[in-house]
Symmetry: none
Subunit: 221 residues, 4 copies
């Protein structure tokens, strides 16, 4: 009995098992990479570093991802999709009055649970050329991140932007408030962005976060 035949006798993995191993490893790699990309920056993080911290070899990493950039894109894709799914944006694109507060709280939960990702995303988007590429790859994410960069934003009303704007139009009609709906929509995004930026630091105070969140709801609901 050769050594080889011994190996043959060990219960071979099923295709299903292979797929599971693959996905587990990919997730592991992406998690480790995200953490380092976010904390030390994409360029300062080396593939060797990621592989070592993930407990695998560089070669294997390249078995899963074609390149460092592909890894980055996979991470962004994954998280953006999660965000979309989580925010339920595709569903009906309508934000009822009852849903508004819930929506804001959802955003907060999302931020808290994925601080690293947001830190990374902000870093990337602040580089003009990366940002352009990103917007091409995720045209829908535009207003998720920054509202109205396009000169004349009515031309590119992304779904989420439209959803919020509709909310403020209805609110104005109902309450008789005198604000300009476009500006109010912008203010809402500005506030959310400021809130996001402030809260994605690991050492940010959780109490302050909650209080600010309540205040935001108070202001815009």
């Amino acid at each position: 009995m050769t050594e080889r035949s011994i190996k043959k006798n060990m219960s071979p993995r099923t295709p299903q098992q292979f797929r599971e191993i693959r996905e587990e490893k990919m997730t592991l790699i992406m998690d480790v990479a995200l953490e380092h990309f976010a904390n030390e920056g994409y360029f300062r993080t080396t593939i060797s570093h990621i592989a070592r911290h993930a407990g695998i070899s560089k070669g294997l990493l390249y078995n899963y991802f074609d390149s460092k950039e592909a890894l980055l894109k996979a991470i962004v894709h994954r998280s953006v999709n999660e965000v979309y799914h989580y925010l339920d944006i595709d569903k009906d694109g309508y934000l009822s009055d009852e849903e508004f507060e819930f929506f804001i709280r959802k955003i907060n939960t999302m931020l808290q649970g994925k601080k690293s990702f947001w830190r990374l995303l902000f870093q990337l988007l602040l580089q003009n050329d990366v940002r352009e590429q990103f917007l091409k790859a995720f045209p829908e994410s535009d207003s998720l991140i920054h509202p109205g960069h396009e000169p004349g934003d009515t031309n590119y009303p992304s779904q989420i932007m439209k959803m919020i704007k509709d909310y403020f139009i209805r609110k104005k009609a109902k309450t008789g408030d005198q604000y300009d709906t476009d500006t109010e929509t912008d203010m809402f995004f500005i506030t959310i962005e400021g809130f996001a930026l402030t809260s994605i630091y690991s050492d940010y105070n959780i109490d302050k976060n909650e209080k600010a969140l309540n205040r935001i709801i108070e202001l815009f609901k």
Copy 2:
């Protein structure tokens, strides 16, 4: 008398002239570098690239700055000092009611005039380790950038934070508003940050900016 014979006056440059040359070149280099660091990111910007765009040799750049990182630090130092000076924070540390609106508009002017710098600074500060170094180097800048990382902010009341808080305390006393002053201060910083982040993109709409600015003043004044 030919131009050549004029040149023949071989009197050496005075120390003053040398100083001027130095400062001019350093400013040039820093300006060029900032632009590239901000748009393409620190790591993707090469020293060769900076030198070429500044119209000098790589060697000369190293005559003025010890390393790429030293160049980055010099840029940050310069700009932070300018900001401090511009915002006049050291002067009296007191923000009268009349000054409040003026202060916000000043912030806006500052942002518009130094978009590249702010884009760079945000990128850097989003990296946790860089941010720690920065806070060590500019302890006072703490709340200028992000308020309240310290658990219990009463322990580290930076001057600008204190100045704004005092403003809201007085406002509350005067108007009888029922807000929590700490939270209102935080909200102010959150809003300013969101506003900053939104407005530092080169393609950001100037009209929207002005409207948002007015709304912010309306909300907090």
Copy 3:
């Protein structure tokens, strides 16, 4: 069965194999580097040069050694350890009369076999600052290289120094010679050093070397 199908056995290298490859390559690099460092000097020897002569890429060299200086240090460490081991200094630290001649001949053998290393070491140690570092790294080697820098050598009697001194004390007692033992020890080291310096040139005459060696034994035995 073609050669190709044999190769198709894709079993990965074992850790043992990896270790062997590593050690072989490190030895190769160090050998090549030593030769060039010794002959052309540390600074005039470029990493590219070493890599080319070792038949590897620069990158690989840096896979094994962190820097050019680390490579130099590794070489020195390796050789010094070999010398220590070869001279058997740690063993009993006692030099019997019978062993004395053998000891001198051993030194000669060691010099002849590692001329490059000694040429390099002498070069390095002649630089005061390098020498200080070296003495910190190898405190025991002190008298191996140069005896008596310390004012009052009784305070720092390194093992080899002590061993030789003891020999001359015994010799004096036995023969009734009237020399000062400290001075005789110094003279021995001085002579050995002069002998070493003279014999480490590749073109040095082997006959003269043998004659001088015999004369040294005659003088000090």
Copy 4:
């Protein structure tokens, strides 16, 4: 009266004064350079460093010396000439019995007074290729440094070597000692070299030096 005419009125330097200034500066530069070359090594010492420590500009240094290598050569030339002159070798090339002890003491004085130079020279000569160049430039210095590298040294009997050998021939004839004159000459050079190497460190003990010196005289006189 223009500024220029004022300068004109200041007593202009005479050609003689110019020459003196020139020589003073050159000496200063060479002294500073030698010190650094010896302590930190030729390659680690930069021109900027030398200029700064000499209190002059780099440009001026190049006014005096064509290149870094030219500076090194000038230093070596100067010192070798001084050594020759000091040892009085050209004079008659004859070393009487009375002169022998004086000669050895002279060597010692020379070593003590120019430690840096000797440290530098040893460093240079230990590099095989530099050594070759040196021997071409100073053929006479050969035996000053190392005796008998040439295969069959009778072919290249340098003056100093011959002088010493003659001394030992006479000594043998007079005393009836049974040594081989060639070997004794070699041993003398070996001992002097070892003595030199040991004593050129700044921290070498002066007492030990004196004792060793006396012992050498005792041994070879």
